[in-house]
């Protein structure tokens, strides 16, 4: 029982990180109806932003929660700007082009970030060790169950960000515009909504959340390299599809599900199958209920 609960805790904390990445996939899909393949690589850049900026920040701010918070903000801001830039340079010129053209461009952007990151004078192909932002300690341990401070931080940060996102999307004018745009783009422009600006904004928010996810991920798994975004990116994508892509609560639900399924598989079956199980879930979902568990309507015809 304790082991089971422990796996649940581990799964949920992994899921919380996936959720931050999955939200970006789902929001961007919502407004542009396409899968931003480069999202996992934006996440990767987020980890490197933290890696490079930490020494600078800790010099003036010292080590502690304030610095950790500053690193988080820096990663979010940096990733947000990167996302906006990618959209502007690579995706915007392709509006109204066939979806496959955009998809391949997105794969190109993804490869570009991965390969450029591997160049020696950029990030380098080798593993780097992410700085310890917060000393790890056991918040709770006993009777075979433990909860680390890093896990608590993951939960708190992820939940706060998700709540902020909810307020943004449900209550603010630009948030409502974002939803309006995802329902009907031409109707939105007839309202006087500058659709390009809202799309940029969506990329900023989605990518910034990936930056936050990267900071939390690197805190938990401090070995970073330029390909680190591939698997978490794919898994978060699966989570978004599971919850019904374009559906914000669905992405969160799907992420917790995927995170838990992954740790359960690793714990009870074999760690080597933790990636395969995620793809297995993806395929089952796409074959039996492509609109996702919480999605409505059919698969959009392309």
């Amino acid at each position: 029982m304790e082991e089971f609960l422990q796996q649940v805790i581990n799964g949920l904390s992994l899921g919380a990180i996936y959720a931050l990445i999955a939200l970006g996939y789902t929001m961007i899909y919502g407004v542009l109806r396409f899968i931003n393949f480069a999202h996992g690589d934006v996440f990767m850049v987020g980890a490197y932003i933290g890696f490079f900026i930490y020494p600078l920040l800790s010099e003036s701010l010292g080590t502690g929660y304030l610095t950790a918070f500053a690193v988080l903000l820096a990663a979010m801001l940096g990733c947000g700007l990167l996302g906006v830039t990618i959209e502007f340079l690579a995706y915007r010129p392709l509006r109204n082009r066939p979806k496959l053209t955009v998809l391949i461009t997105a794969i190109g952007v993804s490869l570009f970030l991965e390969y450029t990151g591997q160049i020696d004078f950029v990030f380098g192909a080798d593993y780097k060790t992410y700085p310890t932002l917060v000393e790890r300690s056991a918040v709770f341990s006993g009777s075979g169950l433990s909860l680390g401070s890093d896990q608590v931080i993951v939960f708190v940060v992820a939940i706060v960000l998700m709540l902020l996102l909810r307020v943004l999307v449900m209550k603010t004018k630009i948030g409502i515009a974002m939803r309006a745009l995802s329902m009907n783009l031409s109707a939105a422009s007839l309202m006087g909504i500058n659709t390009n600006r809202v799309i940029s904004f969506t990329f900023f928010i989605g990518s910034a959340l990936a930056g936050a996810g990267a900071t939390l991920y690197a805190m938990s798994y401090p070995k970073i390299n330029p390909l680190m975004g591939v698997l978490p990116g794919l898994k978060a994508f699966v989570a978004a599809v599971l919850g019904g892509i374009g559906n914000i609560p669905g992405a969160v639900f799907g992420s917790f599900f995927i995170g838990t399924a992954e740790t359960m598989t690793a714990g009870y079956i074999s760690p080597t199958f933790r990636d395969a199980i995620v793809f297995g879930i993806l395929i089952l979902i796409l074959i039996f209920k492509p609109s996702g568990l919480l999605g409505k309507g059919g698969v959009e015809k392309v």
Binding site: A177, R179, L190
Partner: protein, 235 residues
């Protein structure tokens, strides 16, 4: 107020609008009638900036607005209640109306205009917290018109407000269109397949056939025209 001059619009290799010209005088209701596929919706979409014109000019208050992006078109005072209503289905009635006022900053004015909309369409007030997608067709049409009014337009483009709506409600909606024109002095360009209703409320009318204007005149005169009667009024 609005002048369209020799407008051409193409979809790929197909020419949808073949050099039409018409004018909409201030405070008037002008209607474009014609069959399905005549190019009525394309004309409105081009005025709103959703479709690019191949050639020709669109002048609004004397200024050339031919290649201005849609969100600027709303800012200068043209709004549209589009074909098929295009309500945001998952936004509430209130949120839909707020989106209509997206470019406005005057909270007080927005409030007043919303009151006005609820005044002419009391049903919307009853359903204020309901999602747009759950409204009936007629209610959605009311919402589409109200939403377009929320930008405080001087020119309102109405695309097929009668489409797919119960006849009794069509009558009501057309009465409201006249009421809005009278109360607010909003100029209207109405596109309709239901020629009888349109000619009944419009001041001036144009007949559009496969991308070309074939007839024009005073609305009541056109209603008496034999060809129009045969082709569009089913007489």
């Amino acid at each position: 107020m609005l002048q369209v001059e020799h407008l051409h619009v193409n979809y790929g290799a197909i020419s949808a609008i073949k050099g039409i010209s018409f004018t909409v005088p201030e405070r008037s209701i002008v209607t474009l009638i014609g069959a399905n596929g005549a190019g009525k919706t394309t004309t409105l979409r081009t005025i709103s900036g959703l479709v690019k014109a191949a050639s020709g000019k669109i002048l609004f208050k004397g200024e050339d607005i031919t290649s201005i992006p849609p969100h600027h078109i709303v800012s200068i005072g043209i709004s549209q209640s589009p074909e098929g209503r295009m309500i945001f289905p998952e936004l509430t009635v209130l949120e839909n109306l707020k989106m209509g006022a997206y470019r406005r900053k005057d909270a007080k004015g927005i409030q007043e205009d919303m009151e006005y909309c609820f005044n002419i369409f009391p049903r919307l007030k009853e359903r204020i917290k309901q999602a747009g997608g759950t409204l009936s067709g007629g209610e959605q049409q009311m919402l589409a018109i109200a939403r377009a009014l929320m930008s405080k337009p001087s020119l309102l483009l109405l695309d097929e407000p009668s489409l797919g709506i119960a006849p009794l409600l069509v009558k009501l909606i057309f009465e409201k269109i006249v009421e809005i024109n009278r109360d607010l002095g909003t100029t209207m360009l109405l596109v309709e397949q239901n020629a009888a209703m349109a000619l009944n409320i419009a001041h001036h009318a144009y007949v559009l056939e496969t991308g070309e204007i074939t007839l024009e005149g005073n609305a009541s005169d056109l209603a008496q025209n034999e060809e129009v009667q045969k082709a569009y009024l089913g007489m």
